[in-house]
């Protein structure tokens, strides 16, 4: 019996029992739609969690000088002078897995405003720094590349510094302060970040162009660190390798010579990030498979009833020459048709409900192609799997008994 004929018969059986077929499909429709909608919500949440974790600077990469040995004694990395501006330039020009990069020089000293003073640290950086550390400005503005080039005496201060040297609560932007006797004009106030996980106050900071800090405060021409941000958390380990290679070339290190620097990424944050994503995915897949399973059982149930109800028809088909395999295929194809049609309708419903959730409930969602492909494939397989048993049952009927069945 040709496949086309079987398809026709199955199609007819579905059309003749519109209501029943539709109700059967409903299980699959809801199953597939909920899988797509849930995965969309899950993917959306994942992305917003990703954004949140990213805002902690999880894609940050730090490059420090280090591990030099003099007379058998390992030296304090901060005393090293191996990291230079030309390293920074080289990384900036050839590393393509990085979005932002800044040199960093730091020093400590006393911040003075009139009779108020406060011990703090100064970081000399470029304008990318705020993006890498994901810090916003509360007021004022960041310094420009021109101010970096001209080593302008401008600075941004953190909330802790502002509270201590401007105790009257006046707006520090536009005011002059002194850091180790060098006068700086405050051009911006950083948004409050609180303490980091090590208990360090992230608001106790002054940011100035690195040229200014190098020349006017520290009088050095090497760098203490270079910090950068990778394109994404997933790319961070690869970016570390890339940066390592670039600096090795820069420092003319060959063969098995040790690195005279270290490159680190925020591994702890990255692993938090990926384990959160994994948990969410597992949860969603579990819920989704349950709904598809229920849809599949619905198909089996209806196909079983359908076989029972059409026992006499099966008997007749066998009497006029239908073989067991023909009957099996007829019911199997019917089940598959129902589940595939249901699957298609489910995809439509899933997409439209995702649209609704996004636009009316304002939840972040993101429909992925794989969720559509997977749910559709699973429902087709469900049709075969759950259609098989009733179809087998129909094929095994004895034609005499089936013909006499009332």
């Amino acid at each position: 019996m040709r496949l086309l004929n079987l398809l026709k018969i199955a199609y007819k059986a579905i059309v003749l029992n519109k209501m029943r077929s539709l109700l059967t499909m409903l299980g699959i429709i809801i199953g597939v739609a909920s899988v797509i909608a849930m995965l969309a919500i899950g993917e959306g949440s994942k992305q917003s969690i990703r954004d949140t974790i990213s805002s902690m600077g999880s894609n940050m990469i730090t490059i420090r000088p280090g591990a030099d040995v003099r007379g058998g004694v390992r030296q304090d990395p901060s005393a090293m002078e191996t990291l230079t501006l030309s390293d920074y330039e080289a990384i900036k020009n050839s590393a393509d897995l990085l979005t932002y990069i800044t040199p960093l020089v730091d020093g400590s000293g006393q911040v003075i405003n009139g009779s108020n003073n406060w011990p703090s640290s100064i970081y000399g950086v470029n304008a990318d720094y705020l993006n890498i550390k994901v810090v916003d400005l509360q007021s004022g503005s960041m310094f420009t590349d021109v101010e970096v080039k001209s080593a302008a005496k401008v600075a941004l201060i953190g909330q802790t510094v502002a509270d201590n040297v401007f105790p009257d609560g006046e707006d520090p932007v536009g005011k002059m302060i002194r850091f180790n006797k060098i006068p700086f004009k405050v051009i911006g106030l950083l948004e409050e970040k609180g303490e980091n996980t090590f208990g360090q106050d992230q608001d106790d900071v002054i940011i100035a162009p690195y040229t200014t800090v190098q020349k006017r405060i520290l009088a050095i021409d090497h760098l203490n660190q270079i910090i950068a941000s990778a394109v994404s958390e997933e790319d961070a380990p690869e970016a570390v390798d890339q940066v390592t290679q670039i600096i090795r070339t820069q420092h003319k290190l060959t063969g098995n010579e040790d690195d005279d620097f270290t490159v680190r990424s925020m591994e702890e944050l990255i692993s938090t990030f990926s384990s959160t994503s994994e948990m969410l995915t597992i949860l969603l897949v579990a819920v989704a498979s349950i709904s598809l399973l229920i849809g599949g059982i619905g198909i089996m149930n209806i196909m079983y009833v359908s076989v029972k109800e059409r026992t006499k028809e099966i008997g007749l088909r066998m009497a006029v020459g239908g073989k067991g395999a023909d009957i099996l295929m007829q019911f199997l194809i019917e089940a598959i048709l129902i589940s595939i049609t249901g699957g298609l309708l489910g995809v439509c419903l899933g997409l439209s409900s995702t649209f609704f959730i996004e636009n009316f409930l304002q939840w972040p969602t993101s429909v992925t192609l794989y969720s559509i492909v997977i749910s559709f494939a699973v429902c087709a397989v469900t049709g075969i799997f759950f259609g098989w048993y009733p179809a087998k049952k129909a094929a095994a009927l004895d034609p005499i008994t089936a013909l006499r069945y009332e």
């Binding site: 028809e313 066998m318 006029v320 020459g321 073989k323 067991g324």
Partner: protein, 248 residues
């Protein structure tokens, strides 16, 4: 020299019901020649249905031999039996057994759907032809619900003809019909038989037997009578003799 369509020898069929064995057929032998119109009669419990199932290749005998159109049926597989039913036998049932909500022509096409040698166009042409033979050429697309009992049975007869069987096997084909309609159906059978189609008609109504050319009577699993009918009644004439229905 006519051909033997059916040849049965020492046919037995036993059923095991728990510990008891029921002998439904206790060794019967007969042949049916091509072009015969045979009625098989018998009361319930005579083994009539069992014989019908075996003749229709729906069931296998316990012992003895059965040949249809020269083919030995014994020991064939389920699939081989299905092929024989598809190609050699036309079934007609008491309750018509048409597919509900399916047009007459699609009902008639059904046996050919299971025969991959027949193309879609040929299938349609043969179905139309068969429906014309039973006088339903105008009602190709009516569903069973839109047809009277007699018309439904005509569709079933067309379905039994469509695969050009060597024999039509009718099981109480007039059992659900009133006298007038059953005479109409019998006259159709006689007409088909005149065209050379072999018909085996299982019934328990004696007057139906008078329209056939031969009658086999079964009782308790044995053949008690097997006689040729010298005085075959014309169903068309019987129909004409029925009192005219009151015109409403």
């Amino acid at each position: 020299m006519t051909k033997e369509t059916i040849k049965i020898q020492e046919l037995r069929r036993d059923f095991t019901m728990g510990t008891e064995t029921v002998h439904a057929l206790k060794g019967i032998s007969f042949s049916i020649q091509e072009g015969e119109f045979v009625t098989i009669m018998g009361s319930s419990g005579s083994g009539k249905s069992t014989l019908l199932n075996i003749l229709g290749c729906l069931d296998q005998p316990t012992s003895g031999s059965y040949e249809i159109d020269g083919l030995k049926v014994k020991d064939l597989s389920r699939n081989e039996l299905a092929t024989i039913r598809n190609e050699k036998i036309g079934f007609i049932f008491q309750s018509y057994n048409l597919l509900a909500r399916t047009s007459a022509i699609e009902n008639v096409e059904l046996p050919l759907l299971y025969n991959s040698k027949v193309s879609t166009e040929e299938r349609r042409a043969r179905a139309i032809n068969a429906l014309e033979m039973v006088g339903l050429g105008e009602r190709l697309h009516h569903t069973p619900a839109q047809l009277s009992g007699g018309q439904q049975q005509r569709v079933a007869i067309a379905r039994s003809l469509v695969n050009n069987p060597v024999m039509i096997l009718a099981d109480e084909a007039t059992g659900n019909l009133d006298t007038r309609t059953s005479y109409e159906i019998m006259s159709l059978f006689q007409e088909l038989n005149r065209q050379g189609i072999t018909i085996t008609f299982v019934t328990h109504e004696p007057d139906i037997a008078t329209f056939s050319s031969r009658t086999i009577v079964l009782k308790d699993g044995h053949i008690t009578q097997d006689y040729g009918n010298t005085d075959v009644q014309s169903a068309a004439a019987a129909l004409a003799q029925l009192p005219k229905e009151e015109a409403l």
